[in-house]
């Protein structure tokens, strides 16, 4: 894969916004990969958690905003518990979701779910899905 690293991308407001919303220092990451090794959802992801951090450091805005992974992460916090540098990866992923959600780009449209899909889903599931995946 050919990638283009540029000062312009790294200094983009996008990177600062991720750091601000997540409260994390992205440059603390040294790519050990423990977050991805322990993540129970990697099999469903297109960009792995350690790659999300690297892409965020480099300002790869389009790749991150279009990625499937940010909607696969269920904030189980295993990555946070295992990061040797104390980075809260789940918070970084939340920040990327928030950047989209704050533009009213909802990921889940509950009104489109059929009655059989909704089934007997408990309120706790519906509310948390709405809280994480809608604006």
């Amino acid at each position: 894969m050919r990638i283009n690293i540029s000062k312009r991308k790294i200094r983009d407001r996008f990177v600062a916004k991720i750091e601000e919303l997540s409260g994390q220092n992205l440059l603390a990451c040294y790519q050990c990969g423990k977050c991805s090794a322990g993540c129970p959802a990697v099999s469903q992801m297109d960009i792995l958690p350690n790659q999300i951090i690297r892409f965020a450091q480099l300002g790869f805005k389009d790749e991150l905003l279009k990625s499937k992974s940010i909607w696969i992460c269920a904030s189980c916090f295993t990555c946070n518990a295992r990061c040797p540098k104390g980075i809260n990866i789940a918070e970084v992923i939340e920040a990327i979701r928030q950047i989209l959600l704050r533009k009213r780009e909802d990921h889940v449209q509950v009104q489109k779910l059929s009655d059989s899909e909704k089934g007997d889903i408990p309120p706790i599931a519906l509310i948390s899905s709405l809280r994480k995946f809608t604006s």
């Binding site: 696969i72 916090f77 089934g119």
Partner: protein, 292 residues
């Protein structure tokens, strides 16, 4: 002993079996449970964005209700409520400026919140206040021969600052099931996420997680899996319907709340167990072991 109780939404419907078995058990243990008046939704998830203060209002308002009922301690059963209430509380305790802002948002509340309510999960109440030794003395029907895989999920143990046991290898449920006379089974998936709210729009992911978690427990010889979160319970129990479609060789396994095991051991009647709310019927295995 009296304790304030915050139930949360799901305990009043899908997880009525969790609530009823808890209330019966605590009654047997001589604990007076007082449900908070005017409680509201806790928000279900703790807001992770640094600037998102508004979503901390819901959990903190419930803590104001605790103060209003002249208490400074509240017990909750649901792992999501526990996590959200406790994290919101820790958040404002460590950041007085945001606490002031949040109190200003809630200017109509008569009590100004100071971050001084202690949030206890039922497991902590059983371990630290009632004590497992006392419970052992009250067991009237030991769960002899029942092999239990204890599943913690995420929110009782992570993040470690608020977790009620070791972040990687919690053992509180194993200790409790041993006290109740059952045989705890160790398995590597006990703190691995069940897929949580992905169950709403991506049930396939949950069916896959359920398959991994439950077949691991089965391979270690578990008769049942014990849980402590209503969302885990839904995913591991009701989503077995999806799992078996994906993996036809999958064999169903009953999922019980740890409080249902406690209730059986303490001699609660079957009405308190509400097995009608389960997808996989736990009665055959419990009958086989002579427990109901």
């Amino acid at each position: 002993m009296k304790i304030s109780y915050y139930p949360g939404c799901t305990l009043k419907n899908n997880a009525k079996n969790f609530e009823d078995s808890t209330l019966c058990s605590l009654n047997k243990l001589g604990i007076q449970v007082e449900e908070l008046p005017r409680w509201n939704c806790c928000g279900t998830v703790f807001s992770l964005a640094t600037d998102d203060l508004i979503h901390h209002l819901a959990p903190l308002r419930n803590l104001i209700r605790v103060k209003e009922s002249n208490s400074d301690k509240v017990m909750t059963l649901c792992a999501m409520c526990y996590n959200t209430l406790k994290r919101a509380n820790e958040r404002v305790k460590s950041d007085p400026e945001s606490l002031d802002k949040i109190n200003e948002f809630m200017y109509r509340e008569k009590v100004k919140y100071k971050g001084d309510v202690k949030i206890l999960h039922l497991l902590e109440l059983l371990r630290d206040e009632i004590k497992f030794e006392t419970i052992a003395q009250q067991v009237v029907k030991p769960l002899k021969g029942l092999k239990v895989a204890n599943y913690y999920g995420c929110l009782l143990v992570r993040p470690k600052e608020i977790g009620l046991d070791d972040v990687e290898n919690p053992t509180i449920l194993e200790t409790l099931t041993t006290v109740l006379g059952a045989v705890p089974i160790d398995f590597p998936y006990k703190t691995e996420c069940c897929g949580a709210y992905q169950t709403v729009d991506k049930p396939d992911i949950v069916a896959e997680r359920t398959y991994q978690i439950l077949t691991s427990a089965q391979s270690q010889g578990a008769d049942i899996v014990a849980v402590s979160c209503p969302l885990c319970a839904f995913n591991l129990d009701h989503r077995q319907q999806h799992t078996v479609k994906k993996y036809p060789e999958f064999k169903h396994i009953p999922i019980l709340y740890f409080t249902q095991l406690l209730a059986i051991a303490l001699g609660c009647p079957e009405e308190a167990l509400r097995f009608d709310l389960h997808y996989v019927d736990p009665k055959p295995v419990l009958k086989e072991k002579g427990l109901i």
